[in-house]
Symmetry: C2
Subunit: 234 residues, 2 copies
């Protein structure tokens, strides 16, 4: 079937041969499988079937590796965003894009920490930024308002994402405790606080218990978009 790989000499496996593409694909695979702590140069080298030092031919350091891995997956998020239908209401289109970003981060919680962190090294991020911003060009806003509006929307996404990206406590990872049990346990602690000292916490503990992160995100996004709509006079 496949031709004999050039990097196998007659003596057996000798020299590995990588490529930027394979380095990033395997880096993302590690991140997806076990989160940010799983991405080490040694683990990555092992997956690539080579030595640690060869990775440094492709990236200058770990920060750059993370930036490029992030931009790599943002490439596919960008495709999703570009596939969005787009309607006649720019604010609704902004919402649809933001929800797409949020969903992508839910699927890859490690993304939360690196998303939109460095638009220089991340060229797909810049395109995504442009895509969001393009919707604001359809609204009656000043340049400064547009700049701030897009920053605010990204802020809502990142703010929610950071919450999601939090490594769950050890009990949850070990599978001894599901997310619901974990929330329930925290909720129980809240219920035991003095209601006179914590009236708000008592009032919302039932909402907190078993809450959906997506709901929370949607509400935060809707508040920002409502404010934006008001500002644009739409």
């Amino acid at each position: 079937m496949a031709a004999r790989q050039q990097n196998r000499s007659s003596q057996g496996r000798r020299r590995a041969s990588h490529s930027m593409e394979s380095v990033l694909t395997e880096a993302v695979a590690l991140l997806d499988e076990a989160g940010a702590p799983a991405l080490t140069f040694r683990a990555l080298a092992q997956r690539l079937g080579g030595g640690v030092a060869s990775i440094y031919w492709y990236v200058a350091n770990k920060d750059e590796l993370l930036d490029l891995a992030t931009d790599h997956v943002i490439g596919s998020i960008l495709s999703d965003v570009e596939a969005l239908p787009g309607g006649d209401d720019p604010v609704d289109d902004l919402r649809a894009i933001a929800v797409t970003l949020f969903d992508a981060i839910v699927a890859r919680p490690w993304l939360g920490a690196y998303f939109m962190r460095n638009t220089n090294a991340q060229s797909n991020s810049l395109r995504l930024y442009e895509h969001l911003g393009a919707q604001t060009l359809r609204l009656d806003l000043t340049a400064r308002q547009r700049f701030h509006a897009v920053s605010a929307i990204i802020g809502v996404v990142v703010g929610s994402a950071v919450d999601l990206g939090q490594e769950p406590p050890q009990e949850v990872l070990d599978g001894h405790l599901g997310r619901d049990e974990f929330l329930g346990r925290a909720a129980q602690a809240w219920r035991e606080l003095d209601p006179a000292d914590f009236p708000f916490v008592h009032g919302i503990v039932d909402e907190f218990d078993g809450h959906d992160d997506a709901d929370q995100f949607r509400s935060a996004l809707d508040l920002t978009l409502a404010g934006l709509r008001l500002q644009a006079g739409t």
Copy 2:
């Protein structure tokens, strides 16, 4: 003046003696002086004048150290928040609290990554949460709306904070480049993009160049609060 310290024997310095308080104070000092990477058990032990292992008497692991250090500084932020005058408009009071939080994070950029991350281990965080929430009790909202409103506001703070907490690139740290030069350099790269492909980016590049993070935060916060005001019918 001060009595001879018990941990000095006649042979000279022998056994160090710590306390939770001194551990956290020195941990915060390290974080303040050089950011999150500076807080290592070895550096902390050196400042405390003892061995690394003794720190484990006070905290179970580094995560707990970070949680407690964060809660420690949130204690003083809480004092600032409680010292706020408080007016007749709950939304304005929410804004004042949020701005206080933002200012605290500007002063301690490392906080951004840990702020409000674990209200279990962080008892001062919970009090701060209650303080924000208490303002929403003065608004005509459902429990769910209150819960989401406070989450949204914290999201705006954290979203902006994450941006601030980013370690500046090496050139800025080295002092070869100021923040303005750094922004200007990025802005210049944006100006060189094809305007047909990046109309939005071109439209806001002058806003981006030399922008103030506080302005950006204030705008994001105001959008959220405007949305909240609308929701509460105030």
